[in-house]
């Protein structure tokens, strides 16, 4: 081989190596979709979304890639932003359960497609109460619910005050997870915060957190949480996550916990919890919930097919499956779902889903560790 050729090929080889372990060029018709959600969601895409979409669009195939959690997804968003600034193909066609608010400034710069203006046929069906930003297309939601063993809990509390009363009357029978490890635990203390501040979710906005504003409200929260602490599982112990809470319920160690609706429904349908397990929602002010959506970079190589897929995601066909197969809430209005589902879920279908802003959480969780958890005596 000529020396010059050798240099040329080695340089090309080094370039390939630098491009990362997954050497990928945006192939026409292959959509690269990265997931922030757990395997249950990827399974859902593999079994429902992928076959349905590929059958309707010949020559298109979906490449579903687990994104490796929040920091992994952020890295991909960084990559998309860098490609956007360099006007290149980011090789990212869609990010699942990500938000268009990262990297800072990317939304304003126009990195993410504005779905309201993208001409999706189904967009008018989307439930406006769950839209956080027009660049984020919500397609599945879940809400924190009370998950309990109805053989032990004869009358399930319907208000937060009733729940506190129940916890104190049944020492050791309730558990919630550490807020940073399981969002169900986070939602519990956030609901408690809303309780001690007069059930006004509008006090907590994404952009209004300041230490001075929050501190007096937090000061009201600690007495309530310390008050119930001795009556919690094991004299005041907190589980290490959403699954761990459900495990305690499954082994009969506690009679009630808080859980995400999709995880609760899935555990019940798989039979890993007792047959007598049931779920309920507070009737005064529901536990907070959240919607996961997809975002599409405006410079994506397969942008047009990605938008077609987005439209398919919010079609009643897929949304019915979100409810039945994933145990989630639909991103579109309930009236567009099948009659059967509308009737079945009439009682749990929330009129509104309170969302607690994530900007508040770092300080709230840290203060919880220092004020509530550190009070444990053993």
């Amino acid at each position: 081989m000529l020396r010059r050729d050798f240099l040329k090929y080695s340089a090309a080889g080094a370039g390939l190596l630098l491009a990362g372990p997954r050497v990928a060029f945006a192939a026409p018709g292959v959509l690269d979709i990265f997931f922030n959600s757990d395997t249950n969601v990827i399974d859902f895409w593999t079994q429902v979304v992928k076959p349905g979409f590929e059958a309707a669009n010949s020559g298109v195939s979906l490449n579903l890639v687990p994104g490796g959690g929040g920091s992994g997804i952020n890295t991909l968003a960084d990559r998309a932003y860098a490609a956007f600034q360099a006007k290149k193909d980011p090789q990212v066609d869609m990010l699942e359960a990500a938000t268009p608010f990262y990297p800072a400034g990317s939304l304003e710069a126009g990195l993410w497609v504005d779905f309201a203006k993208a001409g999706l046929g189904n967009y008018e069906k989307v439930n406006p109460v769950v839209v956080q930003s027009p660049a984020l297309l919500p397609y599945r939601g879940s809400q924190v619910v009370l998950m309990y063993n109805s053989a032990v809990v004869k009358e399930v509390p319907t208000t937060f005050a009733g729940l506190v009363e129940w916890i104190k009357a049944n020492p050791g029978q309730f558990a919630y997870s550490r807020p940073d490890l399981g969002d169900s635990g986070a939602c519990f203390i956030e609901r408690a915060l809303q309780e001690v501040t007069g059930q006004k979710p509008e006090l907590f906005l994404p952009d209004n957190y300041t230490d001075d504003y929050a501190k007096p409200m937090f000061e009201k929260l600690w007495p309530l949480l310390k008050d119930i602490q001795p009556a919690l599982f094991n004299g005041g112990e907190y589980t290490s996550g959403n699954t761990a809470s459900i495990q305690l319920l499954a082994s009969g160690a506690v009679a009630m916990t808080v859980a995400w609706s999709d995880m609760a429904l899935q555990a019940m349908s798989q039979g890993v919890v007792p047959d007598t397990t049931a779920v309920a929602q507070l009737q005064d002010l529901a536990f907070t919930g959240g919607f996961s959506g997809v975002i599409v970079p405006s410079v994506a190589g397969n942008r047009d097919i990605a938008l077609k897929l987005s439209d398919y995601l919010i079609s009643p066909e897929v949304q019915n499956h979100v409810v039945t197969d994933l145990g989630g809430f639909p991103g579109i209005k309930w009236e567009f779902l099948s009659k059967e589902l509308q009737e079945k879920f009439a009682k749990v279908a929330p009129k509104s889903i309170p969302i607690f802003p994530s900007t508040w959480e770092p300080s709230l969780f840290e203060a919880w560790y220092r004020n509530v958890a550190s009070d444990l005596k053993r």
């Binding site: 550490r178 290490s240 959480e361 770092p362 969780f365 560790y369 550190s374 444990l376 053993r378």
Partner: protein
């Protein structure tokens, strides 16, 4: 070719061999580690420039919460280490002096944890020793009803870490014991030494080196553990691993997280120094 030129050439070849790993360590380990350590000491000033400050360290060492976490980490590490050696040393001794099918079975059992991922051990241990788990059911079958689960108490991570640390500890101890010649033991026996005397005067001095290595390696492994403590341990005090992780990702305070990491690194480097000295001294002793 002269001998000097030859050895020089060999020297260069040797350096070329280690260049790649050394570069990899420098680029992917030393450089980012140095950046984050320097980042805890030197902070960017408003309006450009840098300022030197020990503020984050002052905070750590005056903050009761952080100190309690450090103390809990040290406690867990020391207790786990002592229990680990107390459990594995007899097994290692048994396997050194016994041959046969039973010894093979015990060896296989003791090495088994090496092939099971930590997260699976965690969930399995929760089901086994957790509240209303198998252990409690088995105990109540034989009439013992006062079982208090170690799950979510300081003993939870101790048990998990012992499970995890056993194979490596056992392998190192066995290799240390295999260095003891049968002849020296028989010689001691011939002059009338009892079993205990052989253990204290012949075996223990021979394996202090292995014990040192085992202690240093396990110290490093246990001190920085994040998985077992947060799966099996109490909410509070936390061990340094979960504490750092939480400070970084949930509290979103990278400065304090790297301060905690630097302090953890300094404590672990003591164990590292002990380990390196121990291996470095060994060949010299052998040469004497």
């Amino acid at each position: 070719m002269s001998a000097t030129a030859m050895s020089l050439r060999n020297g260069w070849r040797g350096l070329a061999f280690i260049a790649i790993p050394v570069m990899a360590i420098t680029i992917f380990l030393f450089y980012p580690a140095a950046l984050s350590i320097i980042g805890t000491l030197v902070h960017p000033k408003d309006g450009g420039g840098y300022t030197f400050s020990l503020q984050s360290y002052v905070f750590f060492f005056t903050d009761g919460y952080s100190l309690a976490n450090l103390a809990r980490t040290l406690w867990t590490t020391v207790v786990t280490l002592i229990l680990l050696i107390a459990v594995t040393l007899p097994i290692a001794l048994y396997m050194r002096f016994t041959k046969g099918p039973l010894a093979t079975v015990i060896q296989a059992l003791a090495l088994f944890p090496m092939f099971v991922p930590g997260i699976i051990i965690c969930y399995a241990l929760i089901r086994y020793m957790g509240p209303n788990g198998w252990l409690q059911s088995l105990l109540s079958l034989v009439g013992f009803h006062h079982y208090a689960s170690p799950h979510l108490t300081p003993w939870g991570p101790v048990i998990g870490l012992m499970w995890d640390g056993m194979p490596l500890t056992l392998l190192i101890l066995i290799s240390g014991l295999s260095n003891i010649s049968n002849a020296s033991i028989e010689a001691a026996r011939d002059v009338g030494a009892g079993r205990l005397r052989i253990l204290v005067s012949i075996i223990t001095p021979e394996i202090t080196h292995s014990l040192l290595i085992v202690s240093a390696l396990n110290f490093l492994g246990i001190f920085g553990q994040a998985l077992m403590p947060f799966m099996l341990g109490p909410t509070n005090p936390e061990m340094m691993g979960p504490f750092m992780l939480r400070t970084f990702s949930s509290v979103r305070d990278p400065l304090q997280a790297s301060t905690q990491a630097t302090i953890t690194f300094l404590i672990c480097s003591l164990a590292g120094v002990a380990y390196v000295r121990s291996i470095a001294r060994r060949p010299q002793e052998d040469r004497k």
